[in-house]
């Protein structure tokens, strides 16, 4: 593996150190199962999501990684045939508890989708959408501030500050995806879920989004599904490998990519299947 350079080794050491000092579990999946109708898509997945870290979910197509991600903010609820079992907690609270309001949950656990999906509204309105629904801004000035800071955090402010009134759909693919990230940030979530956020982007746009993900880690907990092993290695601190609905292995990214415990992980990251 040529990604095993000096630099990644250094990163490995430093991230392991930080892992020892800062080990807050933000979300925890406990024996999570998902059925789509008759078909079982996820089998007894136990996975911890650590605060202020990027957790990458990898695995071949159809392995259940996106399904697990969508359980974390209950987006599976929108699919009629989906049934979720087991227990998922956010700050030790069961998110499938009937007392939990799914709308509040999704405000705390935001989501960025595979294909950039800005609303057919202006750039400003796209970002203001979430805060407006949740009543986060008392007046126009406050809303302006939220929009600006969200766009700044999503590293797109300089590109769009002069054309906030133009439709979000008119931006390039990479800009649209960063706009969608800004939109997710605007409701100040604690966790951001990203479902293959770069798969529809070109390499330059991908690099920008990856850079952004690394910065966002300071303030948010991030879970990212990716098809690209290089991306997982570049942006994440923890990696979880899924296969056929099972969690095969989970651990520090550097260890996963250099010395995985499971043969399937080894085969997948060296490109023998997937």
């Amino acid at each position: 593996m040529n990604i095993m350079t000096e630099k990644t080794l250094e990163q490995a050491v430093s991230s392991q150190m930080s892992a020892q000092t800062n080990e807050v579990i933000k979300m925890r999946g406990d024996k999570v199962t998902v059925h789509y109708g008759e078909k079982q898509a996820l089998f007894d997945v136990n996975l911890d999501i650590r605060q202020n870290q990027v957790t990458a979910l990898i695995g071949p197509s159809g392995c259940g990684k996106s399904t697990f991600l969508r359980c974390l903010n209950r987006m599976n609820d929108t699919i009629d045939s989906a049934k979720v079992g087991g227990k998922i907690t956010l700050d030790s609270e069961d998110i499938y508890d009937p007392k939990i309001d799914v709308v509040e949950l999704r405000a705390r656990v935001g989501m960025v989708f595979q294909k950039p999906n800005p609303f057919p509204k202006s750039i400003y309105e796209n970002v203001a959408y979430g805060p407006r629904i949740h009543g986060l801004a008392k007046n126009k000035a406050e809303m302006d501030r939220i929009v600006e800071s969200s766009l700044q955090k999503a590293a797109i402010w300089n590109e769009v500050k002069d054309r906030l009134g133009e439709p979000g759909t008119g931006l390039s693919g990479g800009q649209q995806q960063r706009l969608c990230i800004a939109r997710a940030i605007a409701v100040s979530p604690e966790v951001i879920l990203m479902d293959e956020p770069c798969s529809a982007l070109d390499p330059i746009a991908t690099a920008k989004v990856e850079e952004l993900i690394d910065e966002l880690r300071q303030n948010y907990t991030i879970v990212i599904v990716t098809h690209s092993m290089q991306q997982a290695a570049r942006v994440s601190q923890r990696t979880a490998m899924f296969h056929l609905g099972y969690l095969v292995e989970e651990g520090a990214t550097d260890k996963m990519f250099t010395n995985p415990d499971d043969k399937r992980t080894q085969d997948y990251i060296t490109g023998r299947f997937g």
Partner: protein
């Protein structure tokens, strides 16, 4: 020889050509040269070459023959025809010629010279002719029959010869590298083009036929009086009386049309839209599978049935209800704008809901997910994302619905009455353009009077109105389609 027989012969020639050409093409396939087209394309090409030119020729020949015969008959008519007009004399001669066909060969050979003698013979064969058929027409009619036969035979022979020539040419064209497939497909293209042109040509024909009568009408009644007149009182067209006595004001009819359409839309749009939202966003698949077809079934009910419902049930009910509310006198008439609008609105609900449902379902799932993922509720998502995204399409759907409301006739006749009045009170009777068109064109009328011709002016006004609405609707719908790409 009858045209049917000729057509059958041509068809047989075509089929034979198809079989031979296909056989020949198949035998060419010896593996040395790769054939350009498959064998059945060669067959079809030979078939088309045999049949198409022959059929076209037969059609042209038949038309030409009848035109020629007509002009021949006109030239044979004496100066004093003995009946009201020359065209009448020609048509009498033609019916006589048709009658003579029923007689057998012997009788035709010895035709009596006078109609008085001929009539019993014809009556015996069950042919009834007008009594003012003149004696001089008998030889002309007999001659015309002989001429028709001669022309028909010539045409049939020429047609069959053409079919044979085409078929032989087609068969001789079969070569391994001949492009039979391209030829057949080009012809197909022309056929499809022709089919799509027919609808357009018919529309143009309809417009033109109305246009000339409309111009005729405007010669008698000034357009200003028609378009801006506020009184509709066409009177009756009495024979010989001064024609343009009535008043032909469009305004009361136009107002009635738009008013009733407005009431109908006020009923249909909110209900239809909400049912579409329910169906597209909330309904479980099972419910949707049951309710959607049921709702669309409503669109298949003939409008006259809705009209009957309005006339015998809803109208009297509203009248009695208003009487009960007002304590004695009813303020809603049995036939009123309200009744017509309500029933028409119910008729239009499935149209609105079906069109809007398609448009709402077409909003990409990514939009919904994006909004729900930000913590929006379903109704917030619908209000703030889906409906705005679908709005242009919905506006288009509403305009399409509106043009249906404007063109509706039967419900209005039965539910709103035929009184052309200008009123703002929805509880009174009013009438629409379509109703008046029917009114002016039914019954015994003199065709060439403004009372009748006004129907064409009304028709063309209505046509223009709905055309503009449809164009605007299509424009908006098309613009909407481009939005997600």
């Amino acid at each position: 020889m009858s045209s049917m027989l000729v057509l059958a012969i041509i068809l047989v020639i075509g089929i034979v050509a198809f079989v031979i050409a296909r056989q020949r093409a198949a035998s060419h396939n010896d593996g040395k040269v790769k054939p350009h087209s498959r064998a059945h394309y060669h067959g079809w090409w030979a078939f088309l070459l045999g049949v198409l030119p022959a059929v076209l020729f037969l059609a042209v020949w038949s038309i030409g023959a009848s035109v020629y015969l007509n002009s021949h008959l006109h030239s044979q008519m004496p100066a004093d025809t003995g009946v009201a007009s020359e065209p009448l004399a020609v048509s009498l001669t033609k019916s006589l010629a048709n009658g003579l066909r029923k007689l057998d060969a012997q009788q035709v050979a010895a035709l009596p010279a006078t109609f008085a003698e001929l009539q019993p013979l014809l009556n015996a064969k069950g042919v009834a002719l007008a009594t003012d058929t003149q004696d001089y027409m008998i030889p002309i009619a007999a001659e015309a029959n002989r001429m028709t036969d001669r022309l028909g035979l010539m045409g049939a022979i020429a047609t069959i010869a053409l079919a044979l020539a085409g078929a032989f040419y087609g068969i001789s064209q079969v070569q391994p590298r001949a492009r039979a497939r391209n030829n057949v497909e080009r012809l197909m293209l022309w056929g499809l083009l022709g089919a799509s042109t027919i609808a357009i040509l018919t529309t143009i024909g309809i417009v033109l036929s109305m246009l000339f009568q409309t111009l005729n009408f405007f010669n008698r009644v000034p357009p200003l009086q028609f378009f801006f007149g506020t009184v509709w009182d066409p009177r009756f067209a009495a024979a010989g009386a001064g024609a343009s006595e009535g008043q032909f004001g469009l305004i009361p009819l136009l107002a009635g049309t738009l008013y009733i359409a407005l009431v109908a839309l006020l009923v249909a749009v909110p209900i239809g839209l909400m049912s579409a939202v329910y169906m597209a966003e909330y309904a479980a698949p099972k419910v949707r599978a049951a309710v959607k077809p049921a709702l669309e079934l409503l669109a298949g009910i003939p409008t006259i049935v809705y009209g009957i419902f309005a006339l015998v049930t809803l109208g009297p009910f509203l009248r009695d209800l208003s009487a009960a509310l007002a304590g004695g006198t009813s303020f809603i008439q049995a036939q009123s704008i309200l009744t017509a609008g309500l029933v028409m609105g119910v008729m239009l609900i499935p149209v609105v809901s079906s069109l809007s449902d398609d448009i709402i379902t077409a909003v990409p799932r990514a939009m919904r997910d994006g909004s729900l993922g930000l913590g929006a509720t379903r109704s917030e998502t619908i209000k703030r994302v889906i409906l705005p995204a679908a709005l242009p399409g919905i506006v288009g759907a509403i305009l399409l619905t509106a043009s249906r409301a404007i063109g509706e006739t039967m419900i209005v006749v039965l539910a709103a009455g035929v009184a052309a009045r200008l009123t703002l009170n929805p509880f009174e009777a009013m009438t629409t353009i379509t109703v008046k068109i029917v009114n002016q064109l039914t019954g015994d009328l003199e065709f060439n009077s403004p009372q009748t011709l006004v129907a064409f002016a009304l028709g063309i006004t209505l046509f223009a109105l709905t055309l503009v609405m449809n164009i605007v609707a299509l424009y908006i719908v098309r613009k909407y389609r481009e939005q997600y790409e």
